[in-house]
């Protein structure tokens, strides 16, 4: 057993933390929430130069062969910084789906560009009546003389408004199939859904969108396996992002409790506040343990559906509790737009409902327990 980071991982963490402190003040996070694109292109390219898009990709596709655990550490820093933009969609969803299901030709064609930050990807799974069960997909792809015609509407597709490719999971006969859809394809349109924070989720309409056979990702009708794997990775990755946010909440809350004076002393000297902080600390430490264990198992290629679900279910609830207490201790000031605390309160709820809420992961665990 070893709960520590390697020297390289420590370095990655430090580089990322310093980078975001310098490059992404919270004022800019808040500005970006109102921006049409939702993120800074300049920052995007700087991150690409640092090699972060290709961190976990093989060297032959322009990556640096990092582990999923390395990516998790990077995502922690992104969560801490409240980074807006399509990095998660591109790297965690897009690159994972291509690595998992793509042909050699597709990998060679797409991944080096992805690694250079030149292509943005997203994954379209949810629909108006489906969150996690592909067998109920209403979006269909019909085989027309070898090519496919996709029809229907996907929901909650992250960053589709800026994506170059939408990887769409559509029903094809017996099961779902993944299609690599050029976002500029005729018949594809998107609307950005109302946001709570800086996130961009879209409704994507496929109106008789033609996709050539060459753009099928993986095997026909076998999409569920790929989706499950990618969404398991995404759930673990989301835990990492939330863990980073939770660490920041802990730090800023304790710092505030030390400096805010009421009734003649720092509020952190009151036991009521101390016990709130202690409860946050326990939630945080457990978040770290379950998240790192899950990320480690993904890294090692072990079967880990149970452990990832366990992590997500815990982090969902624990981060929520932590942000509520963070607001409680900061008092009314954190209710103001100028303050940063609310960014994390929003991040916690958005993270909680992304890639499986608690109930969904509990159901996975129940099955793993033989229930």
């Amino acid at each position: 057993m070893d709960f520590s980071l390697s020297e390289q991982q420590e370095m990655l963490r430090k580089t990322a933390r310093d980078f975001f402190i310098n490059e992404l003040p919270k004022s800019s996070v808040k500005e970006m929430a109102k921006d049409a694109r939702g993120y800074s292109l300049e920052l995007w390219h700087k991150m690409a130069e640092l090699g972060w898009m290709g961190l976990v990709l093989p060297e032959k596709y322009g990556g640096s062969e990092g582990s999923f655990l390395d990516l998790a550490i990077l995502l922690e820093e992104m969560g801490r910084a409240c980074l807006p933009g399509p990095l998660f969609s591109t790297v965690v969803l897009g690159a994972s789906a291509i690595m998992e299901a793509g042909s050699e030709e597709q990998k060679e064609r797409l991944l080096p560009k992805l690694a250079r930050g030149e292509l943005i990807f997203t994954l379209a799974v949810a629909e108006s009546h489906v969150l996690s069960r592909p067998d109920f997909f209403e979006v269909k792809a019909r085989n027309m003389a070898g090519d496919y015609i996709i029809s229907g509407t996907k929901l909650f597709v992250p960053d589709a408004h800026v994506a170059d490719y939408v990887i769409c999971a559509a029903k094809t006969g017996r099961g779902p199939t993944l299609f690599l859809v050029d976002a500029k394809s005729p018949g594809l349109s998107w609307t950005v859904l109302p946001a709570m924070s800086g996130e961009r989720q879209c409704e994507v309409k496929f109106n008789q969108v033609k996709v050539s056979k060459a753009d099928i990702l993986g095997k026909v009708n076998r999409g569920k396996e790929y989706i499950d794997k990618v969404l398991t990775r995404a759930a673990a990755a989301k835990c990492a992002e939330m863990l980073g946010g939770a660490e920041q909440v802990m730090e800023m809350t304790v710092a505030y409790a030390k400096e805010r004076v009421q009734s003649g002393r720092a509020i952190g000297a009151f036991q009521a506040i101390q016990h709130h902080c202690a409860n946050m600390l326990n939630d945080l430490d457990a978040c770290r343990c379950v998240t790192h264990r899950a990320a480690w198992m993904v890294s090692e290629g072990m079967p880990c559906a149970r452990e990832v679900s366990l992590a997500k279910a815990w982090v969902n609830e624990a981060y929520h509790r932590m942000t509520l207490l963070g607001h409680e201790i900061h008092g009314a000031i954190a209710f103001q737009h100028d303050h940063d605390m609310h960014l994390y309160f929003k991040q916690a709820k958005l993270g909680e409902i992304a890639f499986g809420d608690t109930a969904q992961h509990e159901e996975i665990i129940a099955r793993e327990m033989g229930l």
């Binding site: 057993m1 070893d2 709960f3 520590s4 980071l5 390697s6 991982q9 655990l69 304790v254 409790a257 030390k258 002393r265 720092a266 952190g268 000297a269 036991q271 506040i273 101390q274 016990h275 902080c277 202690a278 409860n279 600390l281 326990n282 430490d285 457990a286 343990c289 379950v290 790192h292 264990r293 480690w296 198992m297 366990l310 279910a313 815990w314 509990e362 665990i365 129940a366 327990m369 033989g370 229930l371």
Partner: protein, 395 residues
């Protein structure tokens, strides 16, 4: 990062499992009922068998009969013993106290005590709390006044866990009575022989009708000077460390034990019909069982994280207190859910295959009223987390 165990550690785990298979814990005679985490009851015979295997002294130096094995091996042993629900109630406490003897004891004391503890023949209890010194431990009034070759001890201890089955008390007493001396510089630590004249152990009947704690009265007890453990008047630092150790070691087995009980509850739910369906098909029952699993596993990983720090020799500040709060909170919710799943059937008297689970669950549930108080209240532990761990101001 690595959340796995080495092949040697896995082999060690298998060795323990094989031993437990050859020596089924439930076959051993017991002298008292379950302790709070129901690691089985307490059995002299079983603890002596652990001693015979050399597993009590596993981590000690070879010269005291130990094997100098790493802490990780002891943690694996704890986890396996808890999974098997062995009758070892007081043994976990002895492990932590024997470490203090190793650290502070004179050569003479080590030679006198360690072999017996290692064989599982000498059992220690923690004599700390007093009627008016609970969370404010430093308010203790038991005095130990230096007199010739002895300390003359007068006073009373309370909540002395399993003192009625033990041989020696790990006694904290006031050795400096001058009110101008700060409290932290006036307490010392002794090994108290229960058979000394003037010692009276008065078992206390608990809320479920049997004995776990005792009151211990000391009336002009003469403890020979050599039984002073560590330096005179420097006991407070040992008191803090003993408590911290107790918080960690006494609770490390808890997630493993709860995991085992949750497995039983899962099986019960899969086999038990109520109102026309299996409990395992009731969404609320499933939800409770899964919540149990999530909390148990999170708690377990936090304990391994702390154990790993101990193994690495990394300094601990708030971790043992934090783990105590986490485990005891978890346990309270866990056993409550267990009772909810069984509902009124928890009170069936029938002697069917679920009878032991029913009886123990009732008992463990009642214990949770005391879990958050044992080893220092969870409030005191949260204070430690806030002040020591997070650096929040005392005043």
């Amino acid at each position: 990062m690595d959340f796995g165990f080495t092949p040697e550690q896995e082999k060690w785990r298998q060795e323990i499992k094989a031993f437990l298979k050859d020596n089924p814990p439930e076959k051993f005679p017991t002298q008292t009922g379950e302790d709070s985490w129901g690691h089985g009851a307490f059995s002299y015979e079983f603890v002596r068998l652990l001693g015979k295997k050399g597993w009590i002294s596993l981590t000690w130096p070879k010269k005291y009969g130990g094997q100098e094995r790493p802490w990780m091996d002891l943690l694996i042993l704890f986890e396996e013993l808890a999974l098997a629900r062995v009758p070892w109630a007081a043994a976990a406490i002895c492990w932590s106290m024997s470490n203090t003897i190793l650290e502070l004891g004179s050569e003479e004391l080590k030679q006198e005590f360690l072999p017996g503890i290692g064989r599982g023949e000498t059992i220690l209890w923690l004599a700390m709390s007093e009627p008016d010194a609970g969370s404010d431990l430093l308010a203790m009034r038991t005095t130990a006044i230096e007199q010739n070759d002895c300390y003359l001890v007068n006073g009373q201890k309370v909540w002395s866990a399993l003192a009625h089955l033990s041989d020696y008390g790990f006694l904290f007493a006031r050795t400096e009575t001058d009110p101008n001396t700060p409290r932290w510089a006036s307490i010392s630590l002794f090994l108290l022989d229960k058979s000394l004249p003037g010692v009276t152990v008065q078992p206390m009947i608990s809320m479920f009708g049997d004995v776990f704690h005792s009151e211990v009265f000391m009336d002009n007890v003469r403890i020979r000077k050599k039984y002073l453990l560590g330096e005179k008047n420097q006991g407070v630092i040992h008191l803090t460390r003993t408590l911290e150790f107790d918080r960690f070691w006494a609770r490390f087995p808890k997630p493993a034990f709860c995991h085992r009980v949750n497995q039983d509850l899962v099986q019960y739910a899969k086999e038990t019909q109520c109102d026309g369906r299996l409990l395992a098909e009731d969404p609320m029952v499933r939800h409770k069982l899964v919540e149990n699993a999530i909390e148990i596993e999170s708690c377990r990983l936090v304990f391994w994280n702390v154990g790993w720090k101990i193994d690495r020799g990394l300094p601990l500040t708030y971790e043992a207190s934090a783990a105590k709060v986490l485990a005891d909170d978890m346990g309270q919710r866990f056993f409550n859910r267990g009772m909810q799943i069984m509902g009124p059937y928890a009170y069936l008297g029938e002697a069917d295959k679920w009878a032991p689970l029913r009886a123990n669950l009732r008992r463990w549930y009642l214990w949770t009223a005391g879990d958050s108080l044992a080893g220092g209240t969870s409030e005191i532990a949260r204070n430690t987390m806030a002040i020591t761990g997070l650096g929040l101001p005392r005043k």
